[in-house]
Symmetry: C2
Subunit: 562 residues, 2 copies
């Protein structure tokens, strides 16, 4: 270790060593693993965890949220829960002219903690975030609109997994280079040349993580922890509609930093002034910002990629995810699986399929031949049946995050032939919640202009194609032209399976085949599933791989004669 470590930090390294090693192993084997229980059970989180978490969440409402940052000049914030509650939390506004130089000054302190120390601090932050998964779960629920179970899981342990995964990748990349080496070059009969060399990993600068409204922690932790582990202070810029989950996370990070004698503002947060121009573009083009992680709309993602040439930019943008149905050995299982997939969080996942391609000649199944109309109608029925229990419907659908998404559903009903109308549902516990069930339409393959645009929200098409070959060609088009994070396929024909596999590799999209049980195309598991590939227009990076971390630091060497 190149830098002296305090006894306190050394103890933290020891405390988290086995978890770190298990994570390092998990990203190599890619088997199932997690240190963060996904079940919100009293046994895992304590008897009072749910009540405590809800109370903690409520304690933030109508209050000012405190963070430690230089240059605080005011406060702002105007979040409204999609469940119909004004959160009315105010967060600090900072002067970038004071914050960014102070963060720049903090780079050396953070660098000198060293990779092992930074890993321990990151794992301590994640552990504390994990212990507050209920509190963060309620915050995610009331900003994203996710149902509580999903908000807890995707916003809690699964997001923490993605954070730890980024730590593991960053640590792996840094540790490939030894911290010192002896270089001995033989010189024939003469004494060898011997040099002592040291290698120091240094961060690139300040990282900026731009969050989204639908997954305010899941899409924030990877960039935040990838920056931190590789030695970069990080400023989080949450979506104005989903600040609270980020703020709680930043506060926890600041607590751990100060407890370890480090400047709290190594992790900072910047928000927009109420009603004014968003702060993001100004922040993203600042010379001090060397790393940018963005999740959000394609035009702004493309703008960042083209204009922030001072930084390394990692984007996850929009796409058109698709399913190819050729045939199945489990027709009912397929319909059940797709009904859940289309319903979960009202289709507001970046992994939800929008287009389901079925040949006009129909499909072969274990229940005999099914025509195109059979498949389309049966899928609509399956969704309705799945949502017929109001409690389950409310839990799975959650609420529509943004009013514009609800409007989009209404405006889309003329785009195809409606198979299943979107209903405005009344939430059993939140009467003012913005709840909509999925809109499902059928459409002819020649209307590509309609179904190949991303229609964010619970809007899907069953597309009538000429053949499965045609379906595969259209799915490939969607990936290559519009980008996609997921591709699903159903077939019992090995030849078709091979064609789809080749199309997926050629287009560069993750493929899920014949999912009929408890795994869904829109779910991805940290340490095992790569989320996005970085090689189609939906994203220029992947959560997480070596490419996601290796450019966030550099190695500086020093050598002298032994």
């Amino acid at each position: 270790m190149s830098h002296a470590m305090t006894p306190q930090l050394a103890a933290l390294v020891t405390k988290h060593e086995s978890t770190l090693n298990a994570a390092l192993n998990a990203i190599k084997t890619r088997d199932y693993w997690t240190p963060y229980p996904e079940n919100p059970s009293p046994r895992a989180y304590g008897e009072t965890a749910n009540a405590d978490g809800e109370a903690a969440f409520k304690s933030y409402l109508n209050q000012s949220f405190a963070l430690e940052m230089p240059g605080i000049v005011g406060e702002a914030g105007a979040e409204v829960s999609p469940y119909g509650i004004d959160l009315n939390v105010k967060y600090p506004l900072v002067d970038l002219g004071q914050l960014l130089p102070a963060m720049q000054d903090a780079r050396k302190a953070w660098r000198d903690v060293g990779p092992q120390g930074r890993a321990a601090i990151c794992l301590e932050i994640l552990e504390r975030i994990n212990k507050r998964s209920f509190e963060i779960g309620y915050a995610v629920m009331h900003t994203s609109g996710q149902g509580f179970m999903m908000a807890f899981q995707a916003g809690g342990p699964h997001a923490q997994d993605r954070g730890l995964e980024a730590v593991a990748y960053g640590y792996t990349a840094m540790m490939h280079t030894p911290q010192s080496a002896v270089w001995t070059k033989p010189q024939g009969k003469h004494d060898p040349l011997v040099l002592n060399k040291t290698f120091t990993t240094v961060g690139r600068g300040i990282g900026l993580v731009i969050g989204c409204s639908t997954f305010p922690t899941w899409n924030t932790y990877p960039g935040m922890f990838a920056d931190l582990i590789t030695g970069n202070p990080v400023v989080v810029k949450p979506h104005p509609a989903a600040i609270l989950p980020a703020a709680i996370s930043v506060k926890i990070a600041q607590d751990v930093l100060t407890e370890n004698g480090l400047p709290a503002h190594i992790v900072s947060m910047v928000i927009d002034e109420d009603g004014s121009k968003p702060a993001t573009a100004e922040l993203a083009t600042r010379e001090e910002i060397k790393l940018i992680d963005f999740t959000g709309n394609t035009p702004f993602g493309n703008w960042l990629e083209s204009n922030c040439t001072q930084a390394q930019v990692y984007t996850e943008k929009a796409g058109v995810n698709t399913i190819v149905i050729d045939s199945t050995d489990d027709y009912k299982g397929m319909l059940r699986n797709l009904a859940f997939t289309l319903s979960l969080y009202s289709g507001q996942m970046c992994t939800t399929p929008q287009d389901i391609f079925v040949s006009k000649d129909g499909i072969e199944t274990d229940l005999g031949h099914k025509t195109f109309d059979d498949v389309a109608g049966d899928l609509a029925t399956a969704v309705s049946k799945f949502l017929s229990d109001p409690e389950r419907a409310a839990m799975v659908l959650g609420a529509i995050q943004a009013p514009v998404t609800a409007e989009r559903i209404e405006n889309s009903v003329t785009l195809g032939t409606v198979l299943r109308e979107s209903e405005t549902l009344v939430h059993p516990h939140f009467p003012n919640a913005r709840v909509r069930s999925p809109l499902l339409m059928s459409i002819d393959a020649d209307k590509a202009d309609t179904y190949m645009q991303e229609l964010f929200g619970p809007i899907s098409f069953v597309v009538k194609t000429d053949s499965t070959a045609h379906s595969i060609a259209l799915a490939t088009d969607a990936v290559k032209q519009h980008g996609a994070i997921t591709l699903g396929c159903y077939t019992h024909n090995e030849h078709i399976q091979e064609q789809v596999e080749e199309a997926a590799i050629d287009g560069g999209v993750a493929l899920s085949s014949n999912l009929t049980g408890g795994v869904f195309v829109n779910q991805s598991a940290a340490y095992s599933d790569f989320h996005a590939t970085g090689c189609n227009p939906a994203a220029n990076a992947c959560l997480s791989d070596l490419a996601y971390v290796a450019n966030r630091f550099r190695v500086v060497q020093s050598r002298r004669h032994a």
Copy 2:
């Protein structure tokens, strides 16, 4: 292995397995290692290797050089040796509209060879290049102007080392992800969820490697082999003054590819038409080009970084390398070491120091106190003494690659107080060679505008500073404002040493301390020394590290129930 491997390719994998494993180990331990002997001895390369290599080189002169590429529409080439010989070699001109789509089509075949197969093919190419080190050495000598010994070593085995190093990094990065995995998630009392997953590495597209005139192989092989190992066809665009070494290398690669049933044009070469606008800008902005490696001037490097947003761009540009002299325990060793450093290849290395900072109060040495003027004068004398033997001078200095560099020497004599004039020397074997000895001047620290600009060639300043602290501050400025690949320091004061170490880490530049023997600040050893850091303006990447390779490929996954 995901793809069927031919018995021929499997044999190649076996043939190169131990060399690959040794390279993978070397980049982790960073001890001295090489499979390519740097000594041009008959024992290592065969009794007739030198004569055969020279004959092979001469056989190209005044001939057309054949490469296998679709779309050949003519030929061009007008290389002139800095040793005063017209090479008059003509190379194919290609229509990009035919070449690039054909290379795009070849991506699948190259991808399907798989990482192991690609590694074996890369190592076979490198082995054959190694066997032709004399031939390539003469080609490097008569394009770059390097003396033969350096052309052989730096253009031969050392360049091959940098190519193999890139292969080892690319292989390491790809192999971090398994080719398949089983994911088993417990479900309490129910059966676990089990998924079979496969992971395929895919290249990003077509790679472009833009070569330079001074190191036509050393600076070309890293990008070329980094692209190849990670699954990308590559087009080499050599500097118009140094095509032959690249052409020979491309031809060897094409031979190995075709012998293994692969399209030769997976490795292609594009050159400029004689006398017309260079082809590089057009090529670099083509949508098919997803990776660009560039070595050359700063303005064009910056242009590539800003304008080729369709590609990942790796640049090595200009810089101002410096030496801080505070004190030394071996004054004569220091002078000898610096005299060689300044003389080698007439200062035309991107690692040669330009500015040597010495306090106006002089330095403490094992031979007593030396004033600023002592140090400046003794260094000038050391250079002259080292070059007093004409044979040695010719061998070490080589020739000046470009007429503009010779002109720059003449135009620089008024920039400071001349300590040692640059002489026009007559080469003992090539009467028309463009040979110049180093120009050494002293200058006051307040003339930063003069000595902080890169003056490419054998032009150096001894800069009179207020103190060693001032010297360190100026060296840091040079790194941060102008970029640097090397920083040297001489001190026997541990406190000063620590300050310089911190300055080097802060600025992001490789530091060499107290070199007085057989290692020189301008030399870097593959597998152990990182060349450039990627965190100062001299370069945005490093040869080689994980960051240099990890973004050249993506991982595409496929999953289904077990």
